[in-house]
Amino acid sequence: MELLDWSLISSTIRMVTPILLAALGGALCARVGIFNVGLEGLVLVGAFSAIVGNHFTGSLFLAILFAALVCVLFSLLFAYMTIGLRANEIVVGVAINFLALGLTTFALRAIFGVKGAFYDKEMAGLPKLDIPVIKDIPVLGDIFSGHSPLVYLAFIAAIVLYLFFYRTVTGFRVLAVGLSPVAARSLGLKVTGLQVLAITMCGILCGVAGAQLSLGQVTMFTEGMTAGRGFIALVAMMMGQSHPLGILASSFLFGLMDALSIRLQGLSLPTQFTSMLPYVLTIIAMFFVKEKSQAGGRGQSSR
């Protein structure tokens, strides 16, 4: 039927990548006890720096690196304000969102001399990777092959983050810090250092998320092009209970709903209602994931 063609899934995979990456970043922060509402801003900064990097170096690799670097700087600002100066993390997050929007717009003008959007038809976007064997398998090939490398990287990142949390020593300590900063401190763990580490990693992930947005999905930068993805990432993070694989599932769920809502636009429903669909369905989905959240034990708000 019309609603469920395979391109739906392929498109979902692409659309979901920045959200997934940012949500993983958010999870890192959440795991050390910091609620990062600045994801939206960080991704925007990443998207912009990726374009700048690409423009000046001509190398996609350096562009991504540059995006990650700039986002790390922003993250360090976030870390310094919240941990060093004990500012409220939500205030800082919101301020960072404002800052990112203002700075990218301003820099767009200062660096490229344009307003609104920077688009250069000469600029190469991220290549589409064809995965050797898979690409020839009929349906699977359409779905899984032919995405930008960052798409694959995002999925790998989820798994790597999973391994990081549950297999490495540093990840173990990061979890400990989030579970009980007091106990961690009394053990002599470097709580601040671990927090900064997590926030830095969040910066890298957000930088990559931005690069996927501005170099992977399209090849351009426009003001405010994150269009709320950072907040969706926040929802995905919370729904996935800051567990990398949970986030993988929840971002995907959301992406699928979103793609579905697009396909419903043609039907005689008002657009506002189709646009509502992903949010409504996410809430409905919450009725089912709650069981796990109780076992998860991190329900600070739900007691």
Partner: protein, 326 residues
């Protein structure tokens, strides 16, 4: 330089001295939003500035951060004694109605909508006419009988575009299927691109972009998948002539330019001015306006000729394009 605020006093004195011609006219252009990604406002800004330079007026454009700021900016502009205050769009209607009525001696202009007051000049566009031509061209050119349109948001304002386009398409090709999708944002090229890809996968071979900056995403999709597309406001075909084959034009710059010009030259009159196909205030490349790029074969001269004929009918008034759509 931060001399802005001390200026009004001097200027006011200058005027009081009564040298009409010698004192530079001061004109404020109050935009209802941030210029941001909106080419409509960008053009207006440029048009007004250009006229200011050419005719020796001081033009200051002021962006409003949000709805609530419009009225305040208008009031401050009155207080700072600008000679002419131009604003724009439906969003400013309420505010201008109030401020203009309270200041009957001031001159105001509003672009893109009508405020019926004795001291206001209104300039409006009949975009639906251009959209109609665009739709007509699309209906004629499509080979798959599927035509797409990616629209920024499902809001009444944009019905002029979707409605006009659809009417035009139906007029030339009643069998064509019209696919429309909404991005839900004026600044989301990534999603716009996905929507275009979706429409292409459903078989659309021509997809009209009306998603503000999202159009760039549509263009990219066209390049990737090889369908044809069109842009808005200015001649976009230059970006990628192979795939961007038409552009729907709107002379906001001209409107601003003319307003400033007439004011400086003393021919400024309150009342309503509308720009449609007839006045060449709106149009479509190749049909009503020249383009720097050669015509793409997908459209072809034959189609253009037919659309030109439609244009002539509209101009002559024999073919009617409705004002509003449901």
């Amino acid at each position: 330089s931060a001399g802005g605020s001390s200026a009004p006093a001097d200027k006011a004195e200058g005027q009081a001295a009564g040298q009409e011609g010698a004192a530079k006219k001061r004109i404020a252009l109050i935009l209802p939003e941030k210029i941001g990604v909106n080419p409509f406002f960008q053009q207006m800004d440029e048009g007004a500035k250009k006229a200011g330079e050419e005719f020796g007026a001081e033009v200051k454009s002021i962006e409003s951060t949000d709805h609530g700021a419009i009225e305040e900016n208008l009031r401050v502009a009155v207080a700072e004694n600008y000679d002419l205050i131009i604003t724009s769009s439906f969003e400013s209607e309420d505010a201008l109605k109030k401020v203009a009525a309270e200041n009957p001696d001031k001159n105001f202009a509003i672009i893109d909508t009508v405020v019926d007051l004795p001291n206001v000049r209104s300039v409006t566009f009949r975009e639906q006419e251009a959209a109609y031509l665009m739709g007509a061209a699309a209906g004629l050119a499509t080979k798959t009988n599927k035509v797409g349109m990616v629209v920024a948001m499902d809001i009444p304002l944009l019905k002029k575009w979707t409605g006009g386009f659809q009417e035009g398409m139906k007029a030339t090709n009643p069998n064509a299927e019209f696919l429309v999708n909404y991005v839900g944002s004026f600044s989301d090229p990534a999603k716009a691109k996905e929507l275009a890809l979706l429409q292409a996968s459903k078989g659309a071979d021509f997809i009209n972009g009306a998603a503000a900056v999202g159009d760039l995403g549509v263009f990219e999709a066209a390049k990737e998948k090889g369908f044809f597309t069109s842009g808005q406001d200015v001649d976009r075909t230059t970006i990628d002539p192979e795939h961007i084959v038409l552009s729907q034009l709107k002379g906001t710059d001209a409107a601003a330019y003319e307003t400033v010009k007439s004011f400086v030259e003393g021919s400024f009159k309150p009342g309503v001015v509308t720009y449609g196909l007839k006045e060449k205030g709106v149009g479509v490349t190749y049909v009503t306006h020249e383009s720097k790029t050669p015509l793409n074969a997908f459209i072809g001269q034959e189609v253009i000729d037919k659309v030109k004929a439609i244009n002539d009918e509209i101009v002559a008034g024999t073919r009617k394009v409705p004002d509003s759509f449901e």
